[in-house]
């Protein structure tokens, strides 16, 4: 019974997403808007496929936000975060302070008492981390000036939620004033409740320190141990375990789980498992966030809105206008360019998902009456749904007209620095290529499947990541979208071929350079449509041939030219024979195959004797002509 209900719900959510998101993307609306519309469609005011349980789903799916912050942390090295401390505290603090003050004043003007007004002001000053970051990421704007500023503000807001949870009960004027955070679902059975204030503080500091120390010294050997089993699902399990564990720990000490996983991400950003973790967690995050957005869409209370549409519209309008105005002013104050300022302001001008939690908490505490919270929650939901639309307007109407369109690649402080070359397999071949590139100042991202090898290379100071390069998600998080060249030099030939297929399908812009161990592999790579194939023994063999010629007294330059000509001849013959390969039926054994190659190539060497001569330097025909003349 219960199980069936779950499957039905899952079917409804997934079905809505699968139908709505591709359509929304196709129409250029972005996935967030697609999810929100899907939610409205299946919600109580649409088809009615989901009802009140939508709220529970939303709480569950909020975990997607936690995962998202973990992923953001992974992209953000500690040094970079430290450099962003100015904007986080300054810009974030000012945004929250000024917006909250204005909204409080407005609420008081609307007739609320100061304490209720203050609660409303603080809660509405928050923006939606989920919608903003997802939309920015989809548009590729996370690393722009405006995107980074928006991120700083969101990070500050995430931190500010914690003191807000503490302040709200104090604002209650009723008899239950002073009742603590305990009633919040996440905090219901926290270990620290019974502790005195200093004990709670100590627990918080201890948890944060635990994340730092554990992330730095404990997690890497653990991941290495797991990686050695080469069971990728266990690695995924470990990644999820880590995120969920930290979320639980944070909830226990009364901190925001999102903040805790974010810190864990930052700590692990320097580790070799960064890309693998990213690839493992990302699909869960994306699905949960999608469900979360659907739930937000479903929670938009159209009944309430339709009962007094003017009021809700006015509320949403006022909320967006005030937040937008404050953001524009701050952007100017911080010297943002006009187009980045617009991006920054449009992206953050909505209420956030924390508002749902905080409003219900405030209602429980008797700070705000429940009718007001219902209206405000509706307004926040509408404003969230409006965000992708506003950003679309900004993108399509305002930016082309007024924007100066800064170069997106320009910022060196980007959250992820993209490297032009990806090296899959850092062994005998990949290692030498990587060193040559590094010596010439070219950034490389290295993917290596042997975790012991990864360890050694990192100790040498190389940027090497653990992971199976043939996985699409890992390639993506290693920056395949922005890279220009990928070097395929992994030992497992079958895996190399599947990697190549993945690249050709999903990253056709990448130039593939593939290593082959011998002629058979070279044929297969050529057949797979890779034009740049390098046989690892070929150059060495040629050099040995040159050395043999010289040992026999052939002059150096002649021997050198002989090798050059042989190389060119052989490259041509390789391609010709690759095309003929299947014409003559299957051969039984690798040894016979090998003999056949030898036979074929040697015969071909004889068909074009001129291939091996420098006629221009050969005076023979001139001499003959002089003799006869």
């Amino acid at each position: 019974m219960h199980g069936q209900g779950f499957f039905f719900q899952a079917f409804v959510y997934l079905g809505a997403a699968v139908v709505a998101v591709p359509i929304a993307k196709r129409l250029g609306l972005g996935s967030v808007l697609g999810y929100l519309l899907a939610g409205m469609a299946i919600g109580p005011f649409g088809l009615g496929l989901i009802g009140a349980e939508g709220k529970d789903v939303m709480h569950f799916a909020e975990f997607g936000v936690v995962m998202m912050l973990f992923l953001i942390g992974l992209e953000l090295r500690p040094s970079l975060l430290w450099r962003m401390r100015g904007p986080i505290v300054g810009l974030g603090g000012l945004q929250l302070g000024v917006t909250a003050a204005l909204l409080t004043a407005l609420s008081m003007a609307a007739g609320y008492t100061w304490n209720t007004a203050l609660a409303i002001g603080m809660i509405l000053a928050l923006s939606s981390t989920a919608i903003v970051l997802q939309t920015l990421a989809e548009k590729g704007l996370v690393n722009s000036d405006g995107g980074q500023s928006a991120f700083s503000v969101l990070l500050f807001q995430d931190i500010a939620v914690i003191p807000m949870l503490a302040i709200l009960p104090l604002l209650a004027l009723g008899p239950e004033a002073g009742s603590q955070l305990g009633e919040q679902a996440d905090h219901s059975s926290s270990w620290v409740d019974g502790l005195p204030a200093w004990g709670q503080t100590l627990a918080v500091l201890g948890a944060v320190a635990g994340i730092f120390v554990g992330g730095r010294y404990l997690m890497r050997p653990v991941f290495r141990f797991i990686a050695r089993t080469r069971q990728s699902e266990i690695f995924t399990a470990a990644a999820l375990l880590l995120v969920i564990g930290i979320a639980l720990l944070m909830a226990q000490v009364g901190l925001s789980p999102a903040l805790g996983t974010f810190l864990a991400g930052v700590v692990l950003a320097d580790s070799e498992y960064r890309h693998e973790l990213e690839a493992d967690v990302a699909p869960f995050k994306a699905l949960l966030l999608g469900v979360f957005f659907i739930a937000v869409g479903a929670s938009v209370d159209f009944g309430l809105i339709l009962s007094d549409p003017a009021r809700v519209v006015a509320l949403v309008g006022a909320l967006i206008v005030i937040k937008f105005a404050v953001l524009v002013a701050l952007g100017r104050f911080y010297g943002m360019s006009f187009d980045q300022n617009l991006l920054f302001a449009f992206s953050l001008a909505q209420g956030g998902e924390f508002a749902f939690v905080l409003f219900s908490f405030a209602a429980q505490q008797g700070v705000i009456d429940s009718e007001t919270t219902q209206t405000l929650v509706a307004a926040v939901a509408v404003s969230m749904a409006a965000t992708p639309v506003l950003m679309l307007l900004n993108d399509k109407l305002l930016q082309p007209r007024f924007g100066t369109r800064e170069q997106r690649e320009r910022e060196p402080d980007a959250m992820e620095e993209s490297k032009p070359v990806i090296i899959a397999g850092f062994g005998r071949v990949g290692g030498i290529v990587g060193r040559l590139l590094r010596a010439n100042g070219i950034g490389t991202t290295v993917l290596e499947f042997d975790s012991d090898h990864v360890d050694l290379l990192r100790n040498l100071g190389l940027e090497v990541y653990y992971g199976d390069a043939s996985r699409l998600d890992l390639l993506r998080s290693a920056g395949a979208d922005k890279a220009e060249v990928i070097l395929v030099a992994i030992d497992d030939h079958a895996r190399a071929l599947s990697l190549i297929e993945t690249i050709q399908k999903h990253f056709p812009h990448l130039t593939i350079l593939a290593r082959a161990r011998g002629r058979v592999e070279a044929y297969e790579l050529l057949e797979a449509g890779v034009p740049h194939v390098y046989r690892e023994t070929f150059e060495t063999s040629l050099q040995m041939g040159v050395a043999a010629l010289r040992a026999l007294g052939v002059r150096a330059h002649h021997a050198h030219r002989a090798a050059q000509k042989f190389r060119r001849h052989d490259e041509v013959s390789l391609r010709e024979l690759a095309a003929l390969r299947h014409d003559r039926g299957q051969y039984l054994s690798a040894a016979r195959e090998h003999i056949r190659f030898l036979e074929e190539t040697m015969q071909q060497d004889l068909t074009r004797p001129d291939d091996f001569k420098d006629l221009g330097w050969d005076a023979e025909s001139l001499r003959r002509e002089a003799d006869s003349g």
Partner: protein, 203 residues
């Protein structure tokens, strides 16, 4: 005078990334119909010239332009290698060597020194035309007509505006050659595009 001529620009610069003038000149030729730019140092970094391919290219064009900086009163080494290996006896010259007969050849070069240095009595004692005699004679031995060279003098202290002006006149010169408007026999007279170059030089 027939239709359009197909022009092959054999371009040779061993360190194009450090060049100021040649980079602009060669970029100026992008997208001209009927003109093939063949960057030799890009094609043959190891001097391993593919003779068959190069000969085929020559057969497919009517005008051969040797475009390069003027190194030691001559070409960069790769063009010499190209001449040695591609212009083979019995194909380009000698008995039966008539593959290039009737085609035109032209030099397009840049020099560090100013025009006054390339005078009898000047720093380099000879004019550029005199110094290019070996190439002119190479063309003649292969049965080709040799056009007067396109020369950009004084590249060492040239400012960006002048470089751009030279690129424009180079492009115009190549188009003129392509359209067959240049008569090789009278090409010793200074023609429009080159005098434009001289004007820029004075300015």
């Amino acid at each position: 005078m027939g239709g359009r001529r197909r022009v092959l620009v054999l371009f040779a610069h061993p360190a194009l990334e450090t060049s100021r003038v040649n980079r602009v000149l060669i970029r100026g030729l992008e997208g001209i119909d009927g003109v093939t730019v063949h960057d030799l140092y890009e094609e043959y970094p190891d001097f391993d010239i593919d003779v068959a391919t190069e000969q085929q290219l020559l057969l497919e064009h009517d005008v051969i332009v040797l475009h390069h900086p003027f190194y030691w009163y001559s070409t960069p080494a790769l063009i010499k290698q190209w001449e040695d290996l591609v212009l083979t006896h019995g194909w380009a010259y000698g008995s039966g060597g008539d593959a290039l007969h009737g085609k035109w050849m032209m030099s397009a070069i840049t020099t560090g020194g100013g025009k006054s240095a390339y005078q009898p009595g000047g720093h380099n004692r000879f004019t550029v035309s005199q110094l290019l005699r070996p190439i002119e004679q190479t063309a003649r031995l292969c049965g080709m007509d040799y056009l007067s060279p396109f020369v950009v003098y004084g590249t060492l202290d040239m400012h960006a505006e002048a470089i751009r002006a030279h690129a424009v006149s180079y492009r115009r010169r190549i188009e003129t050659v392509r359209d067959g408007a240049l008569d090789p026999l009278s090409s010793h007279q200074q023609l429009g595009p080159e005098s434009a170059v001289d004007d820029v030089m004075k300015g």
